[in-house]
């Protein structure tokens, strides 16, 4: 076999050496992330579908409630409020946010391969790991604001369109009062408070004597005065009446606060972070799974099955020999991080402890739940990146 001699080439116009741009580095450049973001953002059909699911559905639901309440307020209650908030957050935004993020993750993890761009990208000499990692910030730059937009809409309606008065122990009370404002309101309405609120004071308290001086109608005040206390009609001053009403109101404040008609700031912040974390998990797992399988449709179906079927099932069914396996499912771990006041996904709970200590769930410590979530995020990233680095292009 003969070998041709090298041709005498005019090399003047060709650069001397390879550019020093750290092409083998696993760290993606800002330009790589920006163009990856552009590639995902320009998928108009996908973006519309994701917006419809994550923002459109709760928005339409709330707009219909707003209109119905505006047209017939006696037939249709206010659009917002605490119960609407908890229902939308744990039943809609949490699940839809995950599905939206998983769909985007599966898209980001597979389209280069299925659309033939992966080969072009590999031929640039850029580290395959960097190509993979560039997808994470790019995808999250879409997922996080999209989920936040849906959540902000829900929060806004639930706060600003909440009922303004709360029927508390049969009394119409303004909603959303702080502890001191609640006390002030009670001071302004002593008779309402004394005659309708529950209270239980010790023998040394002047309250029972004050209460017994107030005629409250057929049933009278609900007094749980201790046995042996002096109870009987007495003359009380308005100041004593006011002081007693304030004391009763402040005793009732925790109970009142749990029935707030719109969510507290701290609950909204914790809920927002919880929903965003679920979306981040959906994206990262979807990205890794799609990269591993090299396609989009099957991973999307698997992710939906995980979220809609497997997670609720394994959250509640206590299978004796599979408890540790159940605890290692990310959805179960996330259920244990449900903020206090929200029901866990699938219903149930809603107490101040949230998912933690919820008797409906498979028992799991917070530490273990956090470990499971981190393991899922890291594990699927490693799996997806490994497959991308070893795959034939």
């Amino acid at each position: 076999m003969r070998t041709p001699a090298p041709a005498a080439a005019n090399l003047a116009t060709v650069p001397d050496a390879a550019p020093r741009d750290h092409r083998g580095s696993p760290i993606p450049t800002g330009a790589m992330i920006a163009t990856r973001l552009m590639e995902l953002r320009k998928r108009r059909g996908l973006m519309i579908a994701l917006i419809v699911v994550n923002i459109g559905i709760p928005t339409v639901f709330l707009v219909v409630r707003l209109l119905a309440h505006a047209i017939a307020p006696k037939s249709y209650g206010p659009a917002g409020g605490y119960s609407i908030y908890t229902g939308l957050c744990s039943g809609v935004l949490y699940v839809f946010g995950f599905i939206v993020a998983a769909t985007l993750g599966c898209t980001a993890g597979s389209v280069d391969l299925t659309e033939g761009m992966f080969r072009h990208l590999v031929v640039t000499g850029r580290s395959r790991l960097a190509l993979y990692l560039a997808r994470i910030p790019a995808g999250l730059a879409i997922v996080v604001p999209m989920v936040a937009a849906g959540f902000i809409i829900v929060c806004s309606v639930c706060v600003f369109a909440a009922p303004t008065r709360l029927s508390y122990d049969g009394t119409n009370v303004p909603a959303g009062l702080s502890r001191s404002a609640f006390g002030n309101w009670a001071g302004d309405h002593p008779k309402l408070v004394i005659c309708n609120f529950n209270f239980n004071f010790g023998p040394s308290s002047p309250v029972p004597a004050v209460v017994n001086s107030i005629p409250c109608g057929p049933n009278g005040p609900i007094v749980s005065a201790p046995s042996g206390s002096q109870a009987g009609p007495a003359t009380v001053t308005p100041a004593q009446l006011k002081a007693a009403a304030i004391l009763i109101a402040l005793r009732n404040y925790p109970d009142y606060a749990s029935d707030f008609l719109y969510p507290s700031d701290s609950l909204m912040i914790r809920t927002g972070l919880w929903i965003e974390l679920e979306a981040v998990i959906g994206f990262i797992v979807g990205l890794g799974l799609a990269s591993l399988l090299g396609q989009r449709t099957v991973p999307v179906i698997l992710m939906i099955v995980l979220e809609i079927i497997l997670t609720p099932l394994f959250s509640r069914a206590r299978i004796a020999h599979l408890l540790n396996l159940q605890r290692s499912i990310v959805g179960v771990a996330m259920a244990h991080l449900t903020p206090g006041g929200l029901p866990v996904f699938g219903g149930g709970g809603g107490g101040p402890g949230g998912g933690q200590g919820n008797p409906l769930l498979v028992p799991e410590s917070i530490t273990w739940a956090v470990f499971v979530i981190i393991a899922w995020l890291v594990g699927w990233t490693v799996l997806g990146a490994w497959r991308m680095m070893t795959r034939d292009a």
């Binding site: 041709p4 060709v14 072009h120 990208l121 000499g125 292009a393």
Partner: protein, 324 residues
């Protein structure tokens, strides 16, 4: 794989003669050996044709060279950089189209190139416009790729190669889908790229185009490189073909056979088709004519058929395809 180290100051331009160099390169898919112990040397600054019948292993070799799949044995280097050890440095100055070029259909041609430029050095972004202009795609650069024809995607693929300002271009069937004018443009562009000092490796079935474009070729069959060299030298080693129209073809064949000159003769409707061994002089042709005339055969036409790359390719690959 080679484990040679490449210092940062290594001057490949002067110290390496070969744009592509492989030794004992092998790639298997199960029992099937797609690339079989390939020894390939592609000189710098030339257009190099890489030819072979379907399934011969052309694309697989290109994929191995570019790191799209791993080799099972052997060593290789691109532009002097051992691959895969210094794959990133090597590919920084390589542009390639492998198989049919495909892109994100929902993006424009320019946006697709921006994605690829982002994976290269920062200067690559500035080359997008000139690259699109060079392949004649500037006027359609802002249309979605989904609306492009096959030929336009081919041109975009070449533009994607050019944004890296490559020293070496590896083009797998770049003429596919191009109309005659597009093929002529592509041919001129390849020639101009070589004139700039770049090396172009061209894998193609269009032997006529390769012959008009390339300086040297390698023929691959069943995963092995079976011939390699400058086209002019290879054709000089091809068999010589004669076409003779004459009376009494069967008797003419007997007369030529009797001369024992080692000719392969076929009798057809047009007369005799004769293949003479490589290196046969024109005196032998004159001798055949003399034998026929002295034997009483009327010779109406005697024509020497110039060997083309296509005829040579068919000779080589048909011989290889014959049962051993």
């Amino acid at each position: 794989m080679s484990t040679a180290t490449v210092p940062d100051t290594f001057d490949h331009q002067t110290e390496t003669r070969w744009a592509v160099e492989t030794h004992g390169l092998t790639k298997r898919f199960g029992e099937n050996v797609a690339v079989n112990n390939v020894e390939l040397l592609v000189p710098r600054g030339c257009a190099f044709g890489y030819l072979g019948p379907n399934g011969a292993g052309k694309t697989t070799l290109i994929r191995v060279l570019l790191g799209l799949t791993h080799a099972d044995a052997g060593t290789m280097s691109l532009l002097g950089y051992p691959v895969p050890k210094h794959r990133d440095l090597a590919l920084a100055r390589v542009g390639a189209i492998v198989d049919e070029p495909r892109f994100h259909g929902h993006l424009t041609g320019r946006q697709n190139l921006r994605i690829l430029a982002a994976a290269r050095e920062p200067a690559a972004r500035d080359r997008i416009g000139p690259a699109l202009e060079r392949v004649g795609m500037l006027h359609r650069a802002d249309d979605k790729v989904a609306k492009y024809s096959m030929g336009m995607r081919q041109r975009l693929g070449v533009a994607a190669c050019l944004i890296g300002d490559p020293q070496l271009l590896i083009l797998d069937e770049p003429m596919n889908g191009l109309d005659p004018a597009g093929m002529a443009d592509m041919r001129e562009m390849i020639i101009s790229l070589v004139a700039e000092g770049r090396t172009v490796v061209l894998s193609s079935h269009l032997l006529d185009e390769v012959e008009r474009t390339c300086d040297a070729v390698a023929i691959v069959d069943r995963g092995k490189v079976v011939r390699q060299g400058p086209i002019s030298e290879l054709l000089a080693g091809a068999t010589l073909a004669l076409q003779i129209e004459c009376s009494e073809p069967d008797r003419a064949r007997s007369l030529i056979d009797a001369t024992r000159i080692g000719a392969h003769i076929e009798v057809g409707s047009l007369g005799l088709g004769i293949s003479l061994p490589a290196g046969t002089t024109r005196d032998v042709i004159a001798e055949i004519n003399r034998v026929l005339v002295e034997g009483g055969i009327s010779v109406y036409r005697l024509q020497e058929i110039q060997a083309s790359l296509e005829s040579w390719f068919l000779q080589v690959t048909s011989r290889l395809g014959a049962p051993e």
